[in-house]
């Protein structure tokens, strides 16, 4: 998928995370702010990269402000931001590119 325009998904509430995506400069540019950076920074990065790979996104600036989100919430917010950026709200690939 090609990121079409900047988009945001998620909140700054506890157990959530806010994900911002925008068109990249030919690569994945990842930034993370997390209250649990030392314990879970690598894990969050792994979940984000895996989700981007599933969606075939390789050209994106993605920044995440994490407030203690579970892996499944991180996935949901990354996907939410990316599908918003391409304007797709229906006929989503549940179980396909959107992997559990």
């Amino acid at each position: 998928m090609e990121i079409m325009k900047p988009a945001i998904a998620g909140t700054l509430e506890s157990s959530d995370c806010q994900v911002t995506v925008e068109p990249g400069d030919g690569e994945i540019d990842f930034t993370l702010k997390s209250s649990v950076m030392n314990q879970y920074g690598n894990q969050i990065r792994r979940v984000v990269m895996e989700t981007l790979e599933n969606l075939e996104v390789s050209n994106v600036k993605i920044s995440i402000v994490d407030k203690g989100a579970l892996d499944c919430t991180i996935k949901a917010r990354v996907e939410g931001a990316i599908f918003r950026s391409v304007g797709q709200m229906e006929h989503l690939p549940w179980g396909g590119a959107i992997k559990p």
């Binding site: 509430e13 579970l70 918003r84 959107i98």
Partner: protein
């Protein structure tokens, strides 16, 4: 028939599907059912994000036996079909349709659920449906709604919208809900489906809540929609048979079985006149005690 159609549903707790903090561990409060909401609790511009949150929660969180019902957006919105695809793909147990006014509404949802089960290679008939009735028209058509689909396990009154349609409001006395409650529970019993009462939103008035639950329990409802974990224990306490009721029901069942073999139709148990008409009610009490996990007998 789907074996979950008749499961125990004393409490159905509403949760905003868009809020990770709410949907990550509600099973710790042990409601019978969770109502993961894509409708009123979710702002119009967050409907898309709520679906991703719902899908991954359904796929990844172990809700430890709590039934997972998803309230979709109404048929008058552009959201409901994708809501169903998402919820069915995620593996929900049931879909709750809001603002149901006819059998046709239920059939539209049934068709979409069937199509989604096929699309996501799930066994046909796995996902159940419940219909929320929120208008005078819906109440008057409760019977046809109950009979609209083999998947439909129950109907639920939604008091806020219903009282607006009736040109009244929630008073806390229950007077404004009396006709709808009576009509719906009769329609549900006549058609063999379950019936659930509306939410009670005054969280500062737990005594009023208790009285409300006692009223609907006596009316024959199967359970109540709830909005706060503090309400769960009160509902379960009122809907779970007491030890005295269980012991009496056991005696009734045993005595009717015994007397029937002896050709006796009417007799007394603990000083009360009993005949065959008491049999089903006593069996139901024991079944409810078993489902509630409080039965220790051998019937």
């Amino acid at each position: 028939m789907n074996p979950n159609k008749k499961r125990l549903r004393r409490t159905m707790m509403f949760l905003n599907a868009q809020k990770p903090g709410l949907i990550k561990d509600p099973y710790i409060y042990a409601p019978d059912s969770l109502m993961l909401d894509l409708e009123d609790a979710v702002a119009e511009n967050q409907k898309d994000a709520a679906r991703f949150s719902l899908y991954h929660a359904l796929k990844n969180i172990d809700y430890k036996g709590c039934e997972r019902v998803v309230r979709i957006n109404g048929l008058e919105t552009p959201f409901w079909q994708e809501d169903i695809r998402c919820a069915v793909a995620g593996g929900c147990d049931a879909i709750r349709l809001p603002k149901t006014e006819s059998a046709g509404d239920v059939k539209k949802v049934e068709d979409a659920v069937t199509a989604a089960e096929k699309e996501f290679s799930l066994p046909e008939g796995r996902v159940l449906i419940m219909a929320a009735i929120e208008s005078a028209r819906g109440v008057m058509r409760a019977m046809e709604i109950c009979e609209a689909s083999e998947r439909l396990f129950g109907i639920a009154l939604s008091g806020g919208d219903y009282t607006k349609d009736l040109h009244t409001h929630i008073t806390g006395t229950g007077i404004e809900l009396m006709g709808a409650r009576q009509n719906m529970v009769i329609a549900a019993r006549a058609t063999g489906v379950q019936c659930f009462d509306t939410v009670y939103t005054d969280l500062d008035n737990m005594e009023g809540f208790r009285q409300d639950v006692e009223t609907i329990h006596l009316m024959g409802f199967d359970g109540k929609s709830i909005v706060n974990p503090r309400q769960i224990n009160i509902v379960h306490e009122i809907f779970t048979p007491s030890e005295k009721e269980i012991i009496f029901s056991e005696k009734v069942v045993r005595e009717i079985d015994k007397k029937r073999a002896e050709g006796i139709g009417v007799f007394t148990v603990d000083g009360k006149m009993i005949d065959i008409a008491f049999y089903d009610g006593a069996k139901r009490t024991i079944d409810l005690a078993k489902a509630s996990g409080v039965y220790k007998g051998d019937l």
